[in-house]
């Protein structure tokens, strides 16, 4: 169980070692990263197998034997383990296989892996900040390293927003620290009802939300998204849209559950989520470019996620997790399809004749994204709607009307695209369009395979709806269970508290 | 609702009609209708002549015309549908008159009621329209398009009147309505506004001046009749006599209490048909859109006010 720490340590080491090793043997350096990833996956699978009880009981690991609140700890429950697994798996899937890739990029990928794993596992606010910064630096550099001028510009913008975000976050953490004197999450959680249930706590939440929101594509701080996704390789875009944004979301949610019990915090998140949904979808409606369309759609989906998590109670948690997981697999798959389909939408005219399978996959994926039953996306959306309608607040009612409108807009632009793809040969629009500069390329087999497996996974979930829904319920209940977190980290406190209640 | 307590029921309604009862009526009713219709046509032409200070046709002129037309040696057909159109046009009216109760004979009036009747009355028009269509003469088609427009124009007030009457009597059975009127009071006294609107629509239904734009002899060469010769034309003459009869009997049944005996009945129907005839020779012709406009304005308005009183 303790070797879970290796998930952070090994990639970190690899990241620093790789440039060094590369000087002697390039091949070794290249394999080093991969082997670390494989080892990470093996570790997690091992942990999962060993401790079957993790479904019901989370585990806290004190690093270096120092117990929290003084020491730092990793908190391992289903959701964090799942994401910890997702990190190496997805990094592996979207690994820059290209032979010409510089070793620095591999190194940065390893850094990304390490920081992402750390971020999801940390049980400590300061560590979260540190890993977040690491993650941010890794991703700025990864964007910038793409080499293209547009990528550099995008990276700079990303950097600006990210650093402002970091400052905000640091500010928030500082406020929390001044208020409570601790940064351990479990400890904070114990103190929160007294110390943070006030205006300062709320303010710190707002700051942390804005800071983390930069990564999580939260509404006001997401204007980097389209440019970055548009200028980087599809692999990286898939990784960022699919994985990194979700990690940030999960961290925010965890903080929200543990530290900020105020309803205003939820409302703030709901407002920003709604704004994200509506602006993202609206702009995507006008997008003339496939990747840009996906980026804005991604913003919209993240808005949905925030809206879902802002619903108090388990229903919201379930809806949020469902959307997160669904988007986490679907969006990367879409980005993989985008590899062949860059450029103007008009480029894709009649593409269905050349690559029918890719278009079919595309349709399945967007159907699920839109929430068409019985595909998994529907159940997520269903939970969201039920959750929204169960709340009284006007903001949720607004959300309940905004989400369908957003979906209608989304279907309009996505199926407009599908229709373009199925255009007849010799269509006058296709022939005379000045926008067409590049002919669509064929997809890499790897990208198609990923998309196909995702589609297959979606269908498999449909066939196994019952177990999948059970799993979702247990995930949600564990994530939303504050007491379990506290009692896992501080077993003794829990018992004391229980006794005192009795 | 001023007559809810006096709920119209008819002893005929629940009784089963046997074919043996109906069979003689099936022969007699069209015959009566035909003969009365011929007389009405004669009256129409006579009144026209007298209004124009002419002598007018001899008594048997309608018969002469029909016999002559059927006696034509040669006649052209534009195809089977042309023939069938005439058959349906005549046959539809034959069916319609059996649905119209007259003194002593109810036909199958209680099997249909007034809604059915008003839709059966569309069958001849449709049949004729099909027949004319096959003539491949645009004059005919224009005529039919105008005739159907005219039907749209006068059917809306007509149907409002029918609704008002049926609501008033709480029944769609013509037999029931007539019985009620004979035992109580004529519809025209209970629903004067509806009766007035009904008279207006009657004018349109008869297809005479001022609403005869669809035949417009000088402009579209009598429209639907343009390619009709011999027995085809004769069929239309027969149909016209039925048309007069049906319109007047319907009106008499709805508002004038039908007829308890033959004398009264004939007096009523000839009186009813006389009014539109007089009107028709005093007015020039309306264009199609003006006809639609006038039909949708005055009778509809009057009938709606009438309904407001009845409801």
């Amino acid at each position: 169980m303790d070797n879970i720490v290796l998930l952070v340590v090994l990639p970190l080491l690899a990241a620093f070692l790789m440039p060094v090793v590369a000087r002697s043997s390039e091949v070794l350096a290249r394999t080093l990263g991969l082997s670390v990833l494989f080892i990470s996956i093996a570790i997690i699978l091992n942990v999962w197998n060993q401790s079957g009880q993790i479904d019901s009981q989370a585990v806290s690991i004190a690093i270096g034997g120092f117990l929290p609140p003084l020491g730092i700890n990793f908190y391992v429950d289903q959701i964090s383990l799942f994401f910890a697994l997702a990190v190496p798996v997805m990094v592996l899937l979207f690994w820059p296989w290209n032979r010409s890739t510089s070793i620095r990029e591999y190194s940065l990928m390893m850094l990304l892996t390490a920081s992402a794993s750390g971020l999801i596992l940390s049980g400590d606010l300061f560590n979260i900040y540190v890993f977040y910064e690491l993650l941010a630096i890794a991703s700025y550099s990864l964007v910038a390293i793409q080499g293209r001028a547009a990528a550099v510009a995008a990276s700079f913008r990303y950097l600006l927003m990210g650093s402002v975000g970091s400052v905000m976050m640091l500010l928030g953490i500082a406020i929390i620290y001044t208020q409570t004197g601790t940064l351990n999450l479990a400890h904070l959680s114990l103190l929160a009802p007294e110390k943070l249930n006030n205006i300062l706590g709320l303010g710190s939440f707002a700051l942390i939300l804005t800071g983390m929101g930069v990564k999580a594509e939260l509404f006001p701080v997401n204007s980097w998204v389209p440019e970055v996704y548009g200028s980087v390789s599809s692999n990286l875009a898939a990784l960022m849209a699919g994985l990194l944004s979700k990690l940030a979301v999960i961290v925010i949610v965890r903080l929200l559950i543990l530290l900020f019990p105020q309803p205003e915090a939820l409302q703030l998140m709901a407002v920003l989520g709604i704004m994200g949904v509506i602006t993202g979808e609206l702009v995507a409606w006008r997008a003339k470019d496939f990747v840009r369309m996906l980026s804005f759609s991604s913003i919209g989906q993240l808005g949905l996620v925030f809206l879902a998590f802002s619903i108090p109670g388990e229903m919201g948690m379930m809806a949020g997790i469902a959307i997160v997981l669904h988007h986490m697999v679907v969006k990367p798959a879409l980005f993989m399809l985008a590899t062949g389909w860059r450029g103007s939408l008009e480029n894709l005219s009649g593409v269905a004749r050349r690559s029918p399978f890719a278009v079919l996959l595309f349709i399945v994926l967007i159907l699920s994204l839109l929430g068409i039953p019985p595909l998994p996306g529907f159940w997520a959306k269903y939970l969201l709607m039920v959750g929204l309608s169960s709340q009284d607040g006007s903001i949720y009612t607004l959300g309940m009307f905004i989400v369908p409108v957003a979906m209608i807009i989304e279907i309009a632009y996505l199926f407009r695209l599908v229709m373009i793809m199925y255009r007849k040969e010799g269509d006058e629009a296709a022939v005379n369009n000045p926008d067409i500069k590049v002919a669509p390329q064929s997809h890499s087999k790897w990208g198609l395979a990923i998309a196909a497996s995702v589609a297959a996974m979606l269908i498999a979930i449909v066939l196994q709806l019952q177990p999948a829904s059970d799993k979702l319920v247990s995930l949600a209940s564990q994530l939303s269970d504050r007491n379990q977190y506290i009692s896992t980290v501080f077993p003794q406190i829990h018992t004391v508290r229980m006794q005192s209640i009795k | 609702m001023n007559s809810t307590s006096e709920f119209v029921t008819s002893e005929f309604v629940t009784g089963n009609v046997s074919l043996a009862d109906v069979l003689p009526q099936m022969i007699l009713m069209p015959l009566i209708a035909f003969v009365s219709g011929l007389l009405m046509i004669l009256m129409y032409r006579k009144i026209a002549a007298r209004l124009q200070r002419r002598v007018g046709p001899p008594f048997f002129q309608p018969v002469y015309d029909i016999v002559k037309l059927y006696g034509k040696k040669t006649q052209i057909s534009h195809g089977l549908i042309h023939d069938i159109g005439i058959v349906v046009a005549v046959g539809g009216y034959v069916a319609a008159v059996i649905l119209l109760p007259i003194p002593g004979m109810d036909g199958i009036a209680d099997k249909g009621g007034i809604i059915t009747l008003s839709y059966v009355l569309m069958v001849p028009s449709l049949g004729l329209a099909l027949g004319v269509g096959q003539c491949a003469n645009p004059n005919g088609s224009i005529g039919i398009s105008r005739a159907l427009t005219a039907m749209l124009a006068y059917d809306i007030p007509f149907i409002i009147v029918v609704f008002g009457v049926a609501t008033h009597y709480q029944s769609t059975s013509l037999v029931g309505m007539i019985n009620y009127q004979q035992t109580h009071q004529w519809g025209i006294f209970e629903m004067p506004l509806l009766a007035a609107a009904g008279l207006f629509t009657l004018q349109g239904m008869m297809g005479k001046h001022p609403f005869e734009i669809y035949v417009a002899p000088a402009e579209i060469a009598t429209g639907p009749m343009v390619e009709m010769s011999g027995k085809y034309m004769g069929g239309l003459f027969v149909m016209q006599s039925f048309q007069f009869y049906v319109a007047s009997v319907l009106y008499a049944s709805l508002f004038l209490g039908g007829g308890s005996n033959w004398f009264e009945f004939l007096l009523k129907i000839f009186f009813v048909v006389e009014i539109p005839i007089f009107i028709s020779f005093l007015f020039p012709r309306y264009r199609t859109e003006d006809m639609v406009r006038i039909m949708w304005k005055w009778p509809v308005m009057i009938a709606l006010i009438g309904i407001a009183f009845v409801m």
């Binding site: 303010g203 | 036909g107 709480q170 639609v292």
Partner: protein
């Protein structure tokens, strides 16, 4: 395994098989067999049509605390019968010559896809009809929408693609309204099972019911194409490939009515709907819905009148006839609902037949444009006959079946004392008569064009289903009791008193209808007419179409002596100005609004000073936070403000 399991499983397997076999030539025959077998399975459940107990599926899914279940009751059975028979006839229709031509014109693949689309439509409709709770209803609903979309999208023309996109956006809007309604229902009643929801509904307030009804009706109404959501349907159905249009026109939009019957009539109950008063009017919600139905009969029918393409004309009528069904159901007495439900059957028969005839005409002549047709009756007499029978049904004139259902609706409106609705219904019927005459005249009557002189009758594979439908239209017109049996059972299933009927129609104290007598008398009349015509009149000679009165003009094949352009000119002088395309403008305005908002949002993402934006937003967020805390702890707020600088 119940029969329902068999049916669903069989259809599902058949869809898989058809998808797999779609490139083979024998697919058309195979699919006919499939639909025939499915129909047999359905007939095995025919006890349902006569008041039998509902048949449950043994297959359930437990997901997220919901038990999804499937069952068939009389209403489902009635709709399923129409679905399967339409599918069977459509499949038969496309199995022969039409299919070959379609393969030649498009491709074998396209034909296979059409078959796939058809079976998927049937499957999804069966799933929808079998749904036993709101969630499974929604799933079926969406499946139907997407299957329909697939069918529509098969036509690669630009117009068709546009129509399909429009459809799917509308359908999504409907589905979203439905989903919202389901979510609310769940939260209000705690369940989505029909029975429990029904019990839960009793405790809801009128305003809650009003909200639910509005949402549900919007969801279902979009599918039915009721005003103001009628814009998508006609173009979408008309542009569907021939045989597909037959099926779609017959039944697809009626799924909306099914859902409406289940949810509004059965679960919520029309008495609850009627109890909702609309403020500042004399109307209640039920009246409003009835008026929606009435307007739906009028407006699309008169739009149909202006069409110049047979397929579009028919499709617009499909929309209009949906209004009758809604109107009938909303009268809420046993006769009216019987009329509404029966009209589904009747409409399916004649609409399918009409689309088949038009498709046959297109098959032979290559066009359905009125200005390019005419005089085909001599070349395609049987097709003409089918069309005449069907248009008589569509126009609601005795003795065809359309009359019976419309009669029931009129009768119910009379009994209910609804003069304006009654007039509206009649205006719709009259408009129908006008436009069906335009249809039959401009395709089959009038002058035959030179290029159509060698046109032949539709091939047998297309004729057989057409003639079959014509027989059904007539037979159920003469003996409406056959259908009324099923309708009555369906009425019981949705909790309405069944209509009292006999084989010939309705017996009512205040004036009934006996179609056997009426038809008998009509045919007696025709016989008399025929005697007068054929026996008393002399011999006639059949002449050439150029031997025609033209004011002394000599007609030749060079002269087009035919009236099809601007058909109801006089009427259009009067009402032409009333066609203002209000709804189209409304739609455009909505799109423009979205476009405007989209541009507005785009500005945000284009902002060149993102950091400033972030700062502004943080300040705003803090302001929100402080504001929501009621202005307490001002000092803290000030200090935070200081930090921010």
């Amino acid at each position: 395994m119940t029969v329902l399991d068999d049916l669903l499983l069989f259809t599902a397997l058949a869809s898989v098989a058809i998808i797999a076999l779609r490139r083979f030539a024998s697919i058309s025959k195979f699919s006919v067999v499939v639909y025939a077998l499915a129909t047999v399975l359905l007939i095995k459940m025919s006890a349902l049509g006569y008041g039998g107990e509902p048949v449950y599926s043994s297959f359930t899914v437990n997901v997220l605390g919901q038990i999804l279940q499937w069952r068939f009751d009389a209403l489902s059975w009635f709709f399923a019968l129409i679905t399967l028979v339409s599918a069977l006839l459509a499949a038969f229709f496309m199995s022969g010559a039409w299919g070959e031509k379609y393969c030649k014109e498009h491709s074998k693949e396209a034909y296979g896809l059409l078959q796939v689309a058809l079976i998927l439509n049937v499957l999804s409709m069966l799933v929808l009809l079998a749904s036993g709770d709101l969630l499974s209803l929604f799933i079926g609903w969406e499946l139907v929408s997407w299957a329909s979309f697939m069918m529509m999208a098969l036509n690669p023309d630009k117009l068709a693609r546009k129509a399909a996109i429009k459809y799917i956006v509308y359908a999504m809007a409907g589905a979203m309204a439905f989903l919202m309604a389901i979510a609310m229902t769940y939260n209000m009643t705690g369940s989505l099972d029909y029975v429990q929801v029904m019990q839960g509904m009793a405790h809801l307030s009128n305003s809650q019911i009003a909200l639910l009804v509005s949402l549900y009706v919007m969801g279902f109404g979009i599918k039915m194409g009721v005003i103001p959501f009628h814009l998508w349907q006609a173009a979408a159905y008309a542009e569907t490939p021939g045989a597909g249009a037959v099926f779609m026109g017959a039944i697809s939009a009626r799924m909306g009515l099914y859902a409406l019957l289940v949810v509004i009539v059965q679960i919520i109950g029309l008495t609850r709907v009627a109890a909702i008063e609309i403020p500042y009017t004399f109307l209640d919600m039920q009246n409003v819905l009835a008026w929606v139905g009435a307007l739906t009969t009028i407006i699309p029918t008169y739009i149909a009148l202006k069409q110049n393409d047979a397929r579009h004309l028919l499709a617009w009528h499909g929309v209009g006839q949906g209004g009758y069904m809604l109107l009938g159901v909303m009268i809420s007495d046993s006769i009216g609902t019987a009329g509404g439900i029966m009209h589904v059957f009747n409409h399916a028969t004649y609409q399918a037949a009409l689309f088949m005839t038009v498709t046959a005409v297109i098959y032979r002549t290559g066009t359905s444009n009125f200005s390019k047709l005419g005089g085909l009756v001599t070349q395609m007499p049987l097709t003409f006959m089918v069309m005449v029978v069907s248009i008589i049904g569509l126009a609601g004139i005795p003795p065809m079946n359309g009359f019976v259902s419309k009669w029931l609706i009129y009768r119910a409106l009379l009994l209910d004392g609804q003069p304006l609705l009654f007039v509206a219904a009649v205006i719709g019927t009259l408009g129908t008569i006008l436009s069906v005459y335009k249809l039959v005249h401009n395709t089959f009557l009038g002058q035959l064009r030179l290029e159509h002189q060698e046109v032949r009758e539709a091939p047998l594979s297309m004729l057989i289903p057409m003639l079959g439908l014509a027989i059904i239209i007539f037979a159920t017109g003469v003996m409406p009791g056959v259908v009324l049996d099923w309708v009555a059972a369906a009425q019981i299933a949705v909790g309405i008193a069944p209509v009292e009927h006999n084989l010939g129609g309705i017996e009512l104290v205040q004036g009934g209808l006996d179609m056997i007598w009426v038809t008998g008398i009509m045919f007696y009349g025709f016989a008399v007419g025929a005697i007068i015509f054929y026996v008393l009149g002399g011999k006639s000679k059949h002449i050439h179409q150029y031997d025609n009165y033209a004011g002394g003009h000599f007609l030749t094949s060079k002269v087009r002596y035919h009236y099809s352009n601007h058909f109801y000119a006089g009427l259009m002088h009067m009402i032409g100005g009333w066609y203002r395309n209000v709804f189209i403008k409304l739609e455009h305005a909505l799109v423009s609004l979205v476009s405007f908002m989209s541009q507005f949002s785009e500005n945000f993402y284009r902002s060149s000073q993102p950091v400033m934006l972030v700062a502004v937003v943080v300040v705003l967020a803090l302001y929100f936070v402080l504001g929501s805390s009621g202005g307490a702890e001002v000092s803290a707020g000030v200090s935070l403000g200081g930090f921010n600088q």
